[in-house]
Amino acid sequence: MDLSMKRFVSLAVAALIVGCGGGADDTGGEAADDAAGAGETAGPVVNPDSAGTITGVVSFEGTPPAPEPIDMAEEPTCAEKYTEPPVKEAAVVSDGNLANVYVYVKEGLPDLDFPAPSEGVTLDQTGCHYVPHVLAIQVGQPLVIKNSDGILHNINTQPSQNRGFNISQPVEMETEREFSTAEVMIPVKCDVHGWMEAYIGVQDHPYAAISGTDGTFSLENLPAGDYVIEAWHESFGTQTQNVTVGAQETQEITFTFSGEMAGLPVPLGEPLVLHADHAGVK
């Protein structure tokens, strides 16, 4: 769908929403008090009665690559926490489902302000391992970095659009940071434990989700409209799909990755065109 068509449809949809909802005067919406964290229901910005849901599964075709083992011998404090040898999470496949895929709304959102939730998202370092491996957060939302290991970790973020930071946590402690610009994806590494890796996706809206071990994801409370949904995986690259979702509708989509996609360049820190009406990043 080209730009002017999208505009027309959005306008039509918005008019419908306004007509049906009868609340807001304009499409700018009102500031929500405390919208929920990314991936959860948006706050009062979007009227649930006129919103839809996109759910789906990320599947993997073929034989997944064998998980790479991590030699933690140099760090007994962490190595002790494992009953089975720890492995890297470059490709977590179970029963044909791919986990840790970052699925988000790339284009198509109406021009609404989604205020940052005050509740933070936690990135935990436990067993010399980032939990979660892929994380979704909103612009301005607190990122709570936690060191559960009690040994030195440093959290070295390497964004392209945001200002990065490289901070240490020598003992069990928590530190907060936030990001000011949408970006997909920000790599995070620990220089003390070179196998540690995480990725953070920053949006200025809450419509992002991460597929679980069963491959499922869900984007809820979406304003009705036409969207471009992108799925990003650290080893297998990106895929997009166009989805139209109406009010009170649930659309199901599937992304399928396969082994052949490995080794292609995976975009990091790309500038995003978030809304049809806004060029560039905020």
């Binding site: 030195l152 440093n154 070295n156 390497q158 200002r163 990065g164 930071f165 490289n166 901070i167 240490s168 946590q169 020598p170 003992v171 402690m173 530190t175």
Partner: protein, 608 residues
């Protein structure tokens, strides 16, 4: 040495059209934006002592972490989360502390104390001039130091914090923010030091011109007090070394700001080039930090022993030799750097040789005291401590000059012990000696001698308890600049030593309160100082304390060297440079040598 032949005056007549006079200018021109070298010297004193405190505070925080690793620091709650969450110092903040402690101490404390304060206090009066050759340039050299200091302090409070790359700022760690986590702070560090360098250059130009051109009649080169020789040679070092630092800093700034790659290997740069440039400045810099101290020590030891300096020409020759050789030893900081090992051999030889003139000076100080009549006034106590501690610092230097031994001790606490023995045990004790000695002249009041002796004793004891054990830490393999030595199995057993050093350091810091109190109290309530409390010989002691604006009422004449103590056949055990030889009273002095209108009658005994 004691000729009375007058040398033709080397000053313009116009210069003496303006002898000393009351200063009628408004307060702000008289005490704030002053061109009077004495005021500027006092300004440098306050500024530098403030930064000495700052540097000391930073060291206390480092010592807390080393003594009690990972534990919340008392009072640490006032620090922001980026430095010390919950009072626990973060490793990157610890690296900043290490860096800024060295930076503040070297550039903003010791250098301005020795070169800014003593240079200003001593040079015009010792040569017999009414002020520096360029009084306004002199004022500028002080006032430019202030923004440099503010920028350096400010670097703590920008995002990413202050520089954490060491005071040596090795690239690429200093050149690439992603490696250190420090963004603006490193740039501010560079800018601050470039500005400071300008101030030093202004001072150097002024000092050299004043010493060469403005010596009073009779003040030949070999009648100059040794502090002047030391400051003269130091100024030449400053003139030649500071621009190299500025150049290196600007290159580093460019690498950070505009995409050059002087020091970045991926794009054709050379990390080693930073080290060569930095140490080409850095080694002369450490001689800048010790030579004036040696000059001061000579002055005080001769006075305190009531005996001429042993081997004055050799002392001058040693100063020149140290300065000259100091240009060809810089590579000894780089033995392990990856430079050609054959260069290591040549730098080892030159470094070993530079020990010789330092040894000459030590033996000459001993020779001065030998068969002297030693008065243990507070300046003398500090000056003797200087000699004793400098000997230790100098001897420990021989170990690291030997390249194979340096393989083991480079970047360990053995080096930290060495540098603190020469910079604190050496320079700082000499600075204290000079402060107690000349404070009366410029502030018109004596520093309390009892408090002075207490301060000296406490400082001397705790200082040795802090730094002597560091030799042994280094020999056990304790590396430098590490936030938590317990991470290494072979260093864990040394934790009690670190804790002991930390406690001693806290006591050392507390002992300085005695000095601060003495300073403050004496400024207001100290005993009024006579013109010549130490019964000394150089020209400043012929003037009231403090001397009037313009210094001398009439052009002084110099009849002998500055170290004519206990001259055979004379009743007094000193013979000032300004006293005419034939028994005539000196201008403004009574027949028995007392300054007319002096605060109190002079005794023939130096003040104790």
């Amino acid at each position: 040495m004691s000729t009375t032949q007058l040398v033709a005056p080397n000053v313009s007549a116009q210069h003496w059209a303006d002898p000393s006079h009351p200063d009628e200018r408004p307060f702000i021109r008289k005490y704030v934006f002053s061109t009077d070298h004495k005021v500027i010297g006092c300004q440098f004193m306050f500024l530098s002592l403030f930064f000495l405190l700052v540097g000391g505070l930073l060291a206390m925080m480092m010592r807390w972490q080393l003594g009690y690793p990972g534990q919340p620091m008392p009072g640490g709650g006032v620090l922001p989360e980026t430095m010390a969450p919950g009072g626990i110092l973060l490793p990157e903040f610890y690296n900043s502390l290490v860096t800024m402690h060295g930076t503040f101490m070297i550039f903003f404390a010791i250098m301005p104390l020795l070169v800014g304060m003593f240079g200003n206090w001593l040079i015009p009066l010792h040569v017999g001039a009414s002020d520096m050759a360029f009084p306004r340039l002199n004022m500028m050299s002080f006032w430019i130091t202030i923004p440099a200091g503010l920028i350096m302090v400010a670097s703590f409070f920008v995002a990413g914090g202050a520089s954490g790359a060491g005071w040596t700022g090795y690239a690429p760690l200093s050149a690439v923010p992603e490696y250190s986590g420090v963004y603006m702070g490193q740039k501010l560090w560079c800018i601050s030091l470039v500005i400071l360098g300008f101030g030093s250059l202004m001072g150097a130009v002024n000092y050299i011109t004043t010493i060469v051109n403005m010596r009073a009649p009779g003040m030949s080169w070999f009648r100059l007090p040794l502090p002047v020789w030391a400051l003269f040679i130091t100024s030449i070092l400053v003139l030649l070394a500071m621009p190299v630092l500025a150049g290196a800093l600007i290159m580093l700034l460019f690498d950070q700001l505009i995409g050059t790659s002087f020091f970045l290997p991926e794009t054709g740069g050379q990390p080693l080039m930073w080290q060569h440039l930095f140490w080409y400045f850095g080694h002369p810099e450490v001689y800048i930090l010790i030579l004036p101290a040696m000059g001061i020590a000579s002055e005080v030891i001769s006075n305190g022993s009531r005996k001429p300096i042993f081997g004055y020409p050799a002392m001058v020759g040693a100063i020149v030799a140290i300065a000259f050789l100091g240009w060809v030893v810089w590579g000894h900081h780089m033995f392990m750097s990856g430079m050609n090992p054959l260069l290591g051999s040549s730098f080892m030889v030159s470094t070993m040789v530079i020990a010789v003139p330092s040894a000459i000076k030590v033996f000459n100080w001993l020779g001065t005291m030998w068969r002297g009549s030693i008065h243990f006034h507070v300046p003398m106590l500090n000056a003797v401590a200087f000699v004793a501690m400098f000997v230790i610092g100098g001897l420990s230097g021989v170990f690291m000059a030997s390249t194979p031994v340096d393989i083991y001790i480079h970047d360990t606490y053995f080096i930290v012990a060495h540098l603190h023995y020469v910079l604190f045990g050496g320079s700082l004790f000499a600075i204290f000696a000079g402060l107690y000695y000349w404070f009366p002249k410029y502030y018109g009041r004596m520093l309390n001698p009892m408090l002075g002796k207490i301060h000296f004793a406490l400082t001397f004891v705790f200082y040795n308890l802090v730094f002597f054990p560091m030799h042994n830490l280094g020999l056990a393999g304790h590396i430098r600049r590490i936030y938590d030595p317990n991470q290494y199995g072979f260093l864990e057993p040394l934790q009690p030593v670190n804790t002991f050093i930390t406690l001693s350091a806290f006591l050392l810091g507390a002992a300085q309160l005695v000095f601060i109190f003495n300073l403050a109290w004496s400024l207001w309530r100290g005993q009024r100082a006579p013109a010549n409390p130490w019964n000394a010989n150089s020209l400043e002691w012929s003037l009231p304390s403090p001397p009037p604006h313009g210094n001398f009422t009439a052009m002084p004449h110099v009849y002998r060297g500055p170290y004519e103590y206990s001259v055979t056949g004379r009743e007094a055990d000193f013979w000032p440079q300004w006293e005419p030889p034939d028994g005539r009273p000196a201008p403004d002095h009574s027949p028995d040598g007392v300054l007319i209108g002096d605060q109190k009658p002079a005794s023939r005994e130096p003040h104790r």
